[in-house]
Structure formats: C-alpha cells, structure tokens
C-alpha cells in the first residue's frame, strides 16, 4: 500500500474510528496530540525551525515537514550543512515549494544570527552531542535524530543540558508515535499477551552500506561513510539496533540490568572498522531476555521486533498479533454470547453457502486496521506541538536516553567480551 501522510485530525478521527483512541489516552506523550494542552504560545503561532545536517535523513525530515508546514504554520527559516552538495539538495527541496531559507555551513553562525524556536539535527552520530548542547544552551528546542550520542558521557551530557536549560530535547525514535506500536504497547501493558518471556529482534540487510564518493575521491571517505568508522558511529548498534532496544524497553516498561554480546566483520572486510555481524542478549530484572542480532550479508528475514508472551505474540513491523489460542469461530462465539445472556437459540452454523473444507491457517490479526500514515511525520508534528507548548513529556526523552545508554553498553560489552550492567552515574 502506498503510505501517505495523515494529518492529526485524520489521524485522531482514524483512531477514534478503529477504537484505538484508548492508546491515545494512555500514552502520556500523545496527550498533546489530542488535548488542547496549556500552551505558552498561541495554538497556531508560527514555529521557526532550522535543519542542521541535510544529508539523506535531514532531507527526508525536510520533505515530511514540507507536507504539513503550511497547515501547521511552521517556517523553515534556515538550513545548515558543512558539505555543500547536501546543502544544495535541501535548498532545492525548499525552492520547489517556493521557500527561500537561509543557508549556512556553520551551525554556530546560524543559531547566532537567526531567530529560531527549534532546530532539527540530522548530522552523523559523533556530532549530535556538541551541536545539541550548543543549541539548547542558545535557548532552542531540539529534535535530534537517533541514536542520541556516540558515548555514554555525551548521552548524559545532552540529558543534563536539557534539564539545566529546560528546553525540549526529543530523539528521533519515530516508532514512539506509530499507531501500530501505540496500540500494540497498550495491549502488552494491559497484559493481553500474558507474561512476556522474550523479545526477539533483528535487522538484516544484504548490502555493503557504503555510499559512493564524489568523483571517487578517497579524501571524502570518512566524511561520507562515517557509519563505517568507530570514531563516528557504532555501526549496526547505533544505526539500527538503537530503534529496537527502544521498542524492547518500551514494551517491558523497564531498562535492562545487563548486556552481553559478540560481533565480527564476517563479510564486508573492506577496511571498515565497525562489525557487519552482531548478536547481543539484554536481560531484565524480571528474567525477560531481549535477544538481538543484525547482519548485512543476508536479507531474507528483514527486520522485526517479536514480543513473545505466554498468551500471545506481537510482530510490530508487520502489524500482527497472534494469540496462542485462536479465537472462537463466529458461530461458536455466538453460542458463548447467548449462554452468557441466558439465551437459548439455534447455533447459526453452516448455511447454504457454507464452506465445509476451507483451510484454516491461522495468520493472526492486524493490530490496527490501516497503516496509512508515516510515523516520521507524526513525530515531527508532535515535536511542533511540543515546541508551541514549550515542553514535551519527559518519557519521550527517557526512551531515547535509555536506548542510547544501552546501545553504548552493548558496544562496550562486545569489545570487552564481558557482561555489563549500567554504571550508577548514568541512571536517570
């Protein structure tokens, strides 16, 4: 299905229609979606934003913003990238919408000169922390892409600065705003899956993850392919797993107590420093295990987060829930309802068009009826609302923070070959 953006009103209408409004009410950070929460500013005051880092993700975020910037009264005031071709890509996107934001190569100059409410940061991982802290300290609200930061210390530094400046810091884990996840999490938290024993997740691709260099000029290698070098990224851990450990923590409403793991460069032995093949186990205090792996030389299984409970299973990426015991056939359900209401009526089974030999192959049920939305748009729209309101639910940042901390601990566990727990100073 071709996914297209749904605006908030359609989205809420859709939730109300599908009965998923429960999820809306029970998810604290979505309160701002539905309620006319106290705003420090008018409900539709202009929000002035800039984007720092207009590479592939930055341009993608810009495209999303542009689909609702008029309706939401967002002004893209400025764009910043220190690599000019990428900056021009973003300028072009704006021109197509007849917008002319200022361009900058240095974000420090930009935040000094421009009148901004908020920035969106989509630079390589290693510079998330410095840029975020600088922006927060300038008094700006920040949306920063995941993973939060390159080290434990940087992650904490960002968090502490958010507390000190009282400015919004939202990390780009878009699943937090995805109706499939919201509804599924509600069911998990309501005990519909019974006792969760394991969460299994994986992300498998079959490509080398390399981007081509301009004119094959090797001097650009580390700048363009920053994901492959430890100085800038923890590879599969920060780029992919961070999303999925966030989902696991969210499902369990806990953070792990330990992690162990292993990793290797198994296939793409091309001078890269980060592993192309990893496996980790995170344990929680109630005995639940999060079993994770990621690789880039086989794509058969794609990506998934499987929540394995004693009475059911959820597979989030495909919008599916499976009960361990399938639900009653329709006629039987009628019988059960009748008995409950003291009714003695004939069992409406069969019929002229009865299907005596229909193969039953239990394929589970969809979690939500329609997935006709983009979670990335929804999260940016939420950010806009939060900016207008002047604050965001702390829960959202804590999800990003804990995902980042445990991703970093996973990296250290792999490197040291040890089972690690969270050092006290990083507990928030």
């Amino acid at each position: 299905m071709d996914k297209k953006y749904q605006n908030r009103r359609d989205f809420i209408k859709h939730l109300a229609m599908t009965g998923s409004a429960v999820a809306l009410a029970a998810s604290p950070w979505l309160g701002a979606f539905g309620s006319s929460a106290q705003s420090v500013r008018g409900a539709n005051d202009m929000v002035r934003m800039a984007i720092i880092g207009t590479g592939s993700r930055g341009c993608e975020l810009l495209r999303h913003l542009l689909t609702f910037s008029v309706a939401q009264n967002i002004r893209i005031v400025a764009l910043c990238d220190n690599y000019n071709p990428h900056l021009l890509d973003a300028v072009k996107l704006c021109k197509e919408k007849e917008l002319n934001p200022q361009s900058y190569a240095d974000y420090r100059v930009m935040i000094e000169k421009e009148q901004l409410d908020a920035v969106i940061i989509a630079t390589p991982l290693y510079c998330h922390a410095q840029i975020t802290v600088d922006c927060l300290q300038t008094g700006l609200h920040v949306f920063c892409e995941k993973s939060m930061a390159r080290t434990l210390e940087q992650t904490k530094w960002m968090y502490d600065t958010h507390i000190a400046t009282n400015k919004i810091l939202q990390i780009g884990h878009q699943r937090l705003f995805n109706p499939v996840y919201l509804e599924g999490m509600q069911r998990i938290h309501d005990g519909k899956l019974g006792t969760i024993g394991q969460i299994r997740a994986y992300w498998h691709r079959n490509n080398n993850w390399r981007r081509s260099l301009p004119n094959n000029d090797l001097s650009y290698e580390r700048q363009i392919n920053w994901r492959l070098y430890k100085e800038y990224s923890a590879g599969l851990l920060t780029e992919l797993m961070s999303h999925q450990i966030q989902v696991a923590n969210w499902a369990l409403q806990k953070t792990p107590v330990s992690v162990m793991g292993t990793g290797s460069i198994r296939y793409w032995n091309d001078g890269r420093e980060v592993n192309d093949n990893i496996a980790l186990i995170y344990s929680y205090d109630d005995g639940t295990q999060f079993v994770y792996d990621s690789m880039t030389s086989n794509k058969k299984y794609g990506l998934e987060e499987q929540i394995l409970g004693s009475t059911g299973t959820i597979e989030f990426e495909v919008n599916k829930q499976y009960l361990e015991t399938p639900a009653a056939a329709p006629g039987i359900q009628q019988l059960i309802n009748d008995v409950e209401h003291g009714i003695f009526d004939k069992l409406p089974i069969g019929g002229a068009s009865w299907v005596p030999e229909t193969a039953v192959n239990y394929k589970g049920e969809n979690i939500v009826d329609s997935t006709n939305y983009m979670d990335t748009s929804l999260q940016l729209e939420a950010f806009t609302q939060f900016v207008r309101k002047g604050s965001a639910p702390e829960k959202i940042l804590k999800e990003g923070y804990n995902a980042s901390i445990w991703t970093m601990l996973g990296e250290i566990a792999i490197e040291k070959g040890e089972k690690l727990s969270m050092p006290k100073e990083f507990i928030i």
Binding site: A329, F344, W354, T358
Partner: protein, 281 residues
C-alpha cells in the same frame, strides 16, 4: 480456557488438520475439560502427521509417493482408515471415494478430467487384508482422507468424552462437523440450524449426536469442490446436505455422498446406515 461468568462455560480452540476445532463445555469439571482438551490436541496432531497429503513427513505422503512402485505397509491407523474408506465406497455405491486424490486436486485447477485413472476402483488399488498392505495398480492413484479425517478425529475425542463420563459439550470441527453430548445450558438439547434459514422445520435438536454439513460450492471462491467419482464431473448445482446420526464418520461421509450422488439414489444408499435425520436442499 475461556471461563464465562455464571454458567461456567469453557471454550477452547485448536487449529489443526487444516481446520479449527472449537470445544465448548459447561459445568464444574474443569480438570476433566482440560484432559479432553489435551487429548484432543494430541489426537489432532497425531492425525495431522499421519494423514496430511502435503507434509513430506506424513505416512500418507509416503504411501502416495510409493504406492505404485512398491507394496506399502502403512501403520495401523492409516491402514484401518483406508480400509474403512474402501468399505464406505461400497456402502455408498461408489459415491464416496478416497482413492481419487489426484482428481480432486485437478478439480481445484478446473481440470478433473485431465487425470488418467480407471473409473473402476478395483482396477486402481489392491488391498491385502492378510498382510495389511496396499498397492496402487495405476500411476495416478492418490489417497485423500480429507473427507473422513475430521469424523475419525471427532469419534476418537467422543470416545474419551464418554470414558470420562462428561455430560454436556459441543464440539465443532471447522463448522462442518459437529459432535455433541447432553444439552445447552438453557435448554434440553443443542439447537442447530443452517444460518440464513429461519424455518423451524430445519432445526436440529442435538443431544448425544454427530452432525455434518456439506455444500457443493465453497462460499468464497464459488468452487464446485465435490466431484462425482463415477463421472469425474464436479457438482455444479448449488446444494447443501446435513446428516445427523450417532457416528461422526458416517455423518461426514454421508453429507459428502449426498452432494455427489443423484437424489434418486439417496434412499437406497441411506438404507445401509443408521441415521437419525438428513436434509438435502
């Protein structure tokens, strides 16, 4: 187990044998219900593994693959079922036939006549009752126990229910095969009716019974899925058959037979069975 307030109604489902078995019990005997459930689960899993035409591990798969090239000695259950199937062939004047698996399969693709196999059962298969062995006499012979398997499983579970002296229950296998004991919590029997037909003449009062429903067409694809074993033509006219008796296998075999055979033969065929009530519409 799903417990319904007040009445202590228990419901459980099992997906197996390409279908879903729903079991409803009521009363205060949960431990017994659990035993029936576990027994049903084991039974269905066992039959699934024995009688699947598609599972390469199954005994029937092995028989169908090797029956023409060599003499096969199936295990007790598959052998007995096959022998039973051939006896039903006799009792139904050849309108119930378990040896035409390839014809039924080809019918799903709309070409049942493409399968080259003799119309005379004795020229297709040879059963050695002394040695309990089976040999296919023609290449295209293939056993399909789909029209009998659910009845066998239900009978088996029914035996356990009676052994445990369980009084009231309603079992529905895929909606087409039903086995009941006792009565509905709010009445003297389990009332059963074809959906969409209101006439009370078409009400079945089930107590200690088996009932089976068949229709010539499947509702979704409108495929005529029952084939006349004498002509290899699928039954194209819309009709449904319901049979109530004391034996789930008889009920299942007969509901199919009543669709496959012409109406003027029904009375004759039914003479061979002890049935309570039937309907063909």
């Amino acid at each position: 187990m799903q417990l319904i307030r007040n009445i202590n109604l228990y419901h459980h489902s099992i997906v197996a044998m390409n279908s879903q078995l729903d079991m409803v019990f009521w009363g205060d005997n949960q431990l017994v219900y659990n035993r029936v459930y576990n027994y049903a689960l084991e039974t269905l899993q066992k039959y699934e593994l024995l009688m699947s035409r598609y599972n390469k591990e199954s005994e029937l798969y092995h028989l169908n693959k090797n029956g023409y090239v060599s003499t096969v000695f199936p295990g007790e259950i598959v052998y007995n079922t096959l022998e039973m199937g051939i006896e039903y062939h006799r009792l139904t004047q050849g309108y119930f036939d378990v040896t035409l698996g390839n014809v039924y399969q080809a019918n799903k693709n709309g070409q049942p006549n493409r399968v080259n196999v003799d119309r005379d059962l004795t020229k297709r298969i040879e059963i050695d009752t002394m040695n309990r062995s089976v040999r296919f006499l023609q290449k295209n012979v293939s056993i399909d126990l789909g029209g009998i398997g659910k009845g066998i499983a239900l009978n088996e579970i029914g035996k356990m229910i009676d052994e445990l002296s369980l009084k009231n229950c309603f079992l529905s296998f895929g909606g087409s095969s039903v086995l009941t004991r006792g009565r509905h919590p709010h009445g003297d029997f389990w009332p059963f009716g074809l959906s969409g037909i209101l006439d009370s003449a078409y009400l079945w009062e089930l107590q200690n019974h088996s009932l089976s429903v068949s229709s010539s067409k499947s509702s979704d694809k409108k495929i005529a899925h029952i084939v006349n074993p004498h002509t290899y033509h699928p039954i194209q006219i819309d009709k449904s058959a319901v049979v109530q008796c004391n034996n789930a296998i008889d009920a299942e075999v007969l509901s199919t037979t009543l669709i496959a055979s012409p109406a003027h033969l029904h009375a004759d065929i039914l003479q061979n069975f002890n049935i309570e009530k039937y309907l063909v519409i």
